[in-house]
């Protein structure tokens, strides 16, 4: 665990350093070539977003390392993982709002309508219902995939909650319940602003990584090592966290690659 934490922290610091470097370079060269398709705001948003999620996961890891007791991971009141992830997701939404501020002037009618209806009771209620249903669905999936049917309800609930937080919640926080459904099932809903689109794209990686990680976490269950962390929700929780971290890193490499490409072309020109 310690090793993975350090590896991740090294990765994060490296990436942040790189990002800072490239951003600095970009700032210097921006006035040279104003007509670039490279979107500085978007890149900043993306990198902050990714580092935020990585920081969240790092925090979870640090917390787990601090407690050194695996049994509490599955209990609802004792595990800080769920609140930490919740706060992280909220911060991400705030970040998206912050970067979305500049676009406020150029919104279309639909987008403005959507924005104004964000805090209406109907939307809030819809969002909460949607998240609740998703938690139920995840719990159902957990049981279908082998969680004990009679017992371990608390653990299953924590895992389902974590999965909801990693996958559905960010989108719901950003767009409200109806908006999240539309994003999920429509080709390209026209109320999504550019900035929200950036965030949604990153949420996608986060969610995919989380699901795959939790799914793959079960691989240690049948092994005969007899460790205490092989008990039911622990590998899945950790798998979900690590999976979303990997998803974020993958998303990050995309951004960095794009940044590096722009930087190279600029340097050449």
């Amino acid at each position: 665990m310690e090793r993975s934490t350090t590896v991740i922290s090294v990765l994060v610091s490296k990436e942040q350093a790189e990002a800072r470097k490239s951003e600095g370079e970009n700032c210097n060269s921006l006035d040279l070539n104003m007509v670039s398709r490279f979107d500085q705001q978007k890149t900043k948003h993306q990198l902050f977003h990714v580092s935020l999620s990585l920081a969240t996961i790092l925090l979870c890891m640090a917390y787990m390392q601090y407690r050194r007791n695996w049994a509490h991971l599955g209990s609802f009141w004792d595990s800080l993982v769920v609140p930490i992830v919740f706060l992280g997701e909220l911060l991400k939404v705030v970040l998206a709002r912050f970067y979305g501020r500049v676009e406020d002037g150029v919104l279309s009618l639909k987008q403005r309508q959507k924005k104004s209806s964000y805090f209406t009771p109907k939307e809030i209620l819809g969002g909460i219902t949607l998240q609740f249903l998703c938690t139920l669905l995840y719990a159902f999936i957990c049981i279908i995939l082998g969680a004990p049917v009679l017992g371990n309800y608390e653990q299953t609930f924590v895992l389902a909650l974590l999965m909801t937080l990693l996958t559905v919640s960010p989108t719901v926080f950003l767009l409200g319940g109806g908006g999240a459904l539309q994003v999920c099932f429509c080709e390209k809903p026209d109320f999504v602003t550019k900035c929200e689109d950036t965030a949604l794209n990153l949420f996608k990686y986060n969610a995919l990584g989380g699901i795959l990680g939790a799914w793959a976490g079960s691989v240690v269950a049948p092994l005969d090592w007899g460790r205490d962390w092989q008990a039911y929700p622990i590998p899945n929780v950790i798998g979900a966290l690590l999976g979303s971290a990997l998803g974020n890193i993958y998303a990050c490499t995309h951004v960095l690659y794009a940044t590096a490409k722009v930087y190279m072309t600029k340097k050449r020109s």
Partner: protein, 926 residues
Amino acid sequence: MEQHKSRLGYTLGMLSLFLCGAVFFLIGFFPASYSVAEDDSSVPGGRPTSLHGVKLEPPPPSYDSFILFLIDALRDDFPNATSMPISHSTACEKLSLHVDIPTVTMPRLKSLTTGTLSNFIDIALNIGHTEQLEDSLLHRLKKQKRVVSFAGDHTWVKLFPSEFTRHAANNDSFFVNDFYEGDKSVSKVLDSELQQEDWFLLVLHYLGLDHIGHVEGNTSPRVQLKLREMDEAVQKILEHKKSSNYLLMLSGDHGMADGGGHGGNTPEETLVPLYLYSRNCSKTTAGSKRYNQIDFTPTLSVLMSVEIPTPSIGCLIPEMLQSMSLEHQMYAYFYNAHHLLNKARVKFGHDQVRRSDYYTWYQNATLLHKKLLQPLREGGSGASNVHYQNAKLNYMRVAREISSLLSESLVKFDYGFIVLGLTLTTVTSLHIVISVLYLDLTQQLQLDSLKAGQLLISLAMGILLNLTCHGLDLILISSTWHSILLTIPITLSVYLTFDVAQALLKIALPPIYTRRLKLSIPLPLPLLACFAIRTLTLGSSSFIEQEYKTWYYLGNSLILLTAFRTLRRRITKANVELDGRHLYTVASTCLWQLRKVFVMLMLLTLMRYLHRLQAIRSTITIFSLLLLWARLHHHNQLLQSVASGAALFLVYCFRGLNGQVQFFELAPYLISRIMVPTLVMFWCCLALVLVLGYLAALPQTKSFGDLPPRQVLLQLLQTNLTCSLLLSALLQKVQNIILLPVLLVALQQSYKLCDVFATSARKFSVRLVHVYKIILTIFLARMFYFYQGNSNSLSTIDLTPGYIGQTSYNPVIVGFFVTLNTYSAEIHAFLYLMVHTLRADLRNVGIMQLQPPYSIAADSLIVPLYAALIMLPASFYLCLMVGFRYHLFIYSVFSPKVLYDCYTVLVFYLVFLVTSLYFKLFKNDA
């Protein structure tokens, strides 16, 4: 239309070759007998008569008579103060013996009498033929003209047809429904033998306990009754023999797993008690010491004053030698160490032995021994106890060291056969995989047709290879005729290797074609990933032990994934027109439409807890029989339904008469009288269903034209499926009957799901549907196979269904019934897939009749793909086995799995053979 060509013949050929290769592999991996490879005759026999020039006298027998009281499947915790009070309280020594795998009777008897480890493949030979042994304790006794009497298990007589002076064997040691009769006759023999008193060794082998375990499990109340019965027999011997100088040994040949079977390597199966009784003994030891079962033979030889059998590699059990004088004990230790040292010399060579540690220990021990001899003979007063202990410890150390060295070196592989088998299996599975993946290009790749030129070249190479192998002694075969026959598989494997190599080359570097060769079959990533995971987990022993977890997890994941993707596609599709309005309604409607899939998933989860539903099994049985009948009713005519309903009712009656479900209270004599007519009536109903189905399918030849041939074929296959389901309902355990209808429901729902999934895609592809259906069928079949209680350990094979309605042991019927019961999920899933494919009509899911017709793919695509997906993991596993051949768990975990795998392919082959026969006969392409 090349792509619709039937590939039945081709698949059949490939499967046959694969099985042939698997057989070669098994022969090579488990050489049938160690003694062939090892030259035993060069081990000097006879007892040593001198030690460093001092003359030694072999001691006389320590007891006047010996009784070996074997209780089949007596595990270590069975005899205790409550279950066998007399045996437990009067025992002089309580030891436990560790037996080797395989824990089945015949190999264990071999170990008991010869003192050597047995071959793993003996487990298969346990049921079939039994070769006679060359040398054993009983052979040595016969040489001394001692009277040996025997009563009990028939296996002994097969192993030693002429070594017993008198024998009274049970007629049928495999008829597991016999709990009491066999044991009664053994006890009768015991009575008469106790009167006669002329024997030197009396062997009693009681089978009742094992049979109770097989039929009712280890927690059955009858186990305690049986143990009490055994206790009484022991008591009888003890009372009768009070005055004479005797040794009674109570032991088991192997243990009993939790659940009642045996054959695996859990501690419950590998630990058996050894209780010793003699006239005047001091009961001292409290804790039970553990020895190996092979140690029993040399110890008994020494006690009986016969030569240790040549193959023996055991040590001595000091607790059994207590009654001997010190001098004789020393001689015994010396003799066994000497025997083992001789064996080591033959095995490893003189030089290596002389350089080893144990040789020095042996030298030390003999010197001390010699020093001790003089005072011992003079009266024992001057003998130094320190010297004695020192010599004894050294001797035992030598014996233990050599014994473990020899047990390790007994592992032998016949690499010639392994390579041949591996090549055949790998090449055939690759061949069929390539040929299926490039279905439309087989002409280009030239995989289907037999090429004479290539065959000739292969033949030449095969002969050459065969000669070289024989020249280099890579392949050892005793008969020339067999060596010549061996050319055929070698030739074929060379031929197929050429084919595969050519095809791979063409795929890798397309020579003149402008485009690369394209796969003819879509390979969806999730399916591929699940299949790859399932194959790769074969490399880990814990994943093999708990293989059911892999299947449950992957199977449910696949269904869930498909369901969610379908859901998303449908909602998206509905949304395009509505443009985002009423999204909640649309989503909930689509979710509601998939409700059956979720119900199916819940059912699949519930099936995991089947063993907990014992308490309400009557209700469950009625419910599941009704459900099965409703399923069968769907595609049968009225009369057939009535007959199958009657058959299912009779199944319930049969179970009720057996006392497994609630039924009318009847007098026992009435029950035994009604039982047989019930079964006869069941068979009549089954026959009626079969005949009615065939009659409907094959009307008079005049009106044959009315029914299209495909309909005839479908009707016949359906009838077969119905009959096999009915028969399985009779054979399955009571709480497992529910698996049959649930399997049908699950398959039908998942097929529907596949159809919907494919039709909701942007571009419809028939082959995608087929691939999904096949993979889901394989996964569901495996899941139900494990729901039933099967595992990769040989102890979970349920033998009871083999004896339903049988009064004696008939290997063919028992084998057929047990196979049908064990593999019922796989057999029925495959049959159902064929029936479904023939019946399938996509019009009900909104696709008009396609060209080519959807159902024509049954023999051109589905069968070869299914076969390929069965063969590929199996051949991969065989390759893994070679890599793991020195693994610690090779015989306990990996080897049973290899037997299971090969047998699975064999079962599939047989089912496939029957099905393809129907295809050939009744599919006259119009």
